[in-house]
């Protein structure tokens, strides 16, 4: 019994230590002003690999999720004779919730895991150590551009996801099931508020982008530099990012839309 309590306590202490280490790590990454001449090309390269290369999965997922929303929405709303409100339903669902959340989950699975594996491998092959010994700080040279790229790319990807989803919903609702096109766009325009819905959705994706990128780079930098260690860190990135996104989504939704 005592052993179990001790083990539980140790786990708690380990978690607190881990949070402390990741906080110090973040402070190290964000401290210091990057030089534009060297920092900007590195950031652009990472924006390409983290953002542009995630476009395909985001666009395809957004299209199908929008189409499914159109189909399900039509089935449910037509029971009440309200199928004209399908555009409003799809837009609000995507802009407020599914856009930021699903994009973040996709980001964690595609870009986050890749970031962790890349940094972990750089650690295992002593590339980070060699950089340190050359007088180059890997936190600023390797980690910072990746963190900022995730932070910048996520809201843009979430906006693209929502736009493609709304278009996919229109394909099913208007083109296939015959909802009047004017109702689809008109109801959407009347009910979606720029500040309350669009901006709040973007704020969510900014928060998710920061958290997902932070978890990914920290797990890579802190991993045990072996194949098993890198594999474990990659898994942790996806699991922790997904849980963090879903938990934070509840908190942010309560704050933004809870009307407390």
């Amino acid at each position: 019994m005592i052993d179990r309590i001790a083990s539980f306590g140790r786990s708690g202490v380990d978690i607190v230590i881990s949070f402390g280490r990741s906080g110090r790590f973040l402070a190290g990454v964000l401290s210091g002003v990057p030089r534009p001449a060297t920092g900007f090309p590195l950031l652009m390269k990472q924006l390409y690999s983290v953002g542009v290369l995630s476009l395909a999965i985001v666009v395809v997922s957004g299209l199908f999720i929008g189409m499914v929303l159109g189909l399900q929405g039509y089935t449910i709303l037509s029971d009440f004779g309200s199928e004209a409100a399908i555009g409003q339903m799809i837009a609000l669902t995507l802009v407020r919730e599914l856009g930021p959340v699903v994009t973040a989950l996709l980001f964690a699975g595609r870009a986050g895991s890749a970031l962790t594996a890349e940094i972990g491998l750089m650690k295992a092959t002593e590339q980070l150590s060699s950089m340190e010994m050359m007088g180059v700080d890997p936190l600023r040279r390797v980690i910072a551009p990746r963190l900022w790229a995730g932070f910048i790319a996520m809201p843009i990807l979430a906006i693209i996801f929502s736009m493609v989803g709304i278009w996919g919903g229109m394909l099913v609702g208007v083109e296939w099931l015959g909802v009047f096109e004017g109702s689809y766009w008109g109801n959407m325009q009347a009910s979606v508020d720029f500040w309350d819905d669009v901006v709040n959705g973007v704020i969510k994706s900014v928060v998710f982008g920061f958290v997902c990128a932070w978890i990914a780079v920290y797990q890579g930098y802190d991993c045990v530099p072996t194949s098993a260690g890198i594999s474990s860190a990659t898994t942790k990135t996806v699991v922790y990012s997904s849980l963090a996104v879903l938990g934070l989504d509840f908190v942010l939704t309560a704050v933004m839309f809870g009307n407390f």
Binding site: E126, Q127, M133, G135, D137
Partner: protein, 271 residues
């Protein structure tokens, strides 16, 4: 007091990791402009010693002074400035896998200098020429053999003309030709550039053939130090076991265990 001729001075260094004491009062003087070999059995912390000198690790106690700077007491920025005077050849080479051979060697110059591109180009080719790989400048690290990787890494580590270069197990896993090339390069670089070289290795013959001084570490302490000739005549049995490669001696062949008869179930009451 640090000797004027010493470039690096370690005094009573104690270092532990994961509850295990790696160094227990190690003191070593590394003379300026000479090749010093640090030798010892696998797992004695030779690479850890290089990381302590480079400031990647901090000792529990004791002093580490490099070119007059107390490394553990340096602030982050000062440490990075000091490292610009150091080069390190890692065991794996540690080349950046997304950069070509040329870009790997150019990397330190691009980061630390504002030299024009044509001058960087010429210097990189000179460094690659020195290690015999000028013709391989367009290759990627994945296209290089193990020996070539280390030669490129060597070219990169001397790109900024450092005062100190540290070699971490440079001969491990090399075929005889690659090993001969590396031995020649280390010797030539030291004599032509006047570098202070620290060579960590357990390859006794190769290390003793090029070093001016050597010290042997075992059980967290320095068990022997001196010129290669002095070490060959060292009275310590442990030193002689290491140098001659005897399988048994002060360093036992068997890992500590209980009596064999107990493990085989032969003790007490067998009939």
């Amino acid at each position: 007091m640090m000797s004027l001729r010493s470039y690096i001075s370690l005094k009573d260094v104690v270092f532990s990791r994961s509850g295990r004491r790696i160094f227990d009062g190690v003191s070593i003087e590394i003379p300026r402009g000479k090749i010093t070999a640090i030798m010892g059995p696998s797992g004695t912390g030779k690479t850890t010693l290089l990381r302590l000198i480079g400031g990647q690790l901090k000792p529990d106690s004791g002093s580490i002074v490099v070119d007059g700077h107390s490394v553990p007491e340096l602030r982050r920025k000062e440490l990075y400035t000091l490292r610009e005077k150091m080069g390190m050849l890692f065991q794996s080479g540690a080349l950046f896998t997304d950069l070509s051979v040329f870009e790997n060697v150019a990397f330190p110059m691009r980061v630390h200098t504002k030299l024009p591109e044509d001058m960087i180009h010429d210097i990189v080719l000179m460094k690659l020429e020195a290690v015999g790989l000028r013709g391989a400048r367009k290759l990627m690290p994945s296209e290089l053999s193990g020996g070539m990787t280390r030669r490129v890494a060597l070219a990169r580590s001397i790109a900024l003309d450092p005062e100190l270069i540290m070699y971490d197990e440079p001969f491990t896993g090399q075929d005889p030709i690659a090993m001969g090339v590396l031995v020649k390069l280390i010797r030539d670089l030291n004599s032509s550039m006047g570098l202070t070289s620290v060579l960590v290795s357990h390859d006794v013959q190769e290390s003793l053939s090029i070093c001016h001084y050597a010290c042997i570490i075992a059980d967290g302490k320095v068990i022997g130090a001196g010129t290669p000739a002095e070490l060959q005549d060292h009275p310590s049995e442990q030193v002689q076991q290491f140098l001659q490669g005897h399988p048994d001696g002060p360093v036992p062949f068997h890992y500590p265990s209980s009596e064999a008869s107990e493990d085989f179930g032969l003790s007490g009451g067998a009939s």
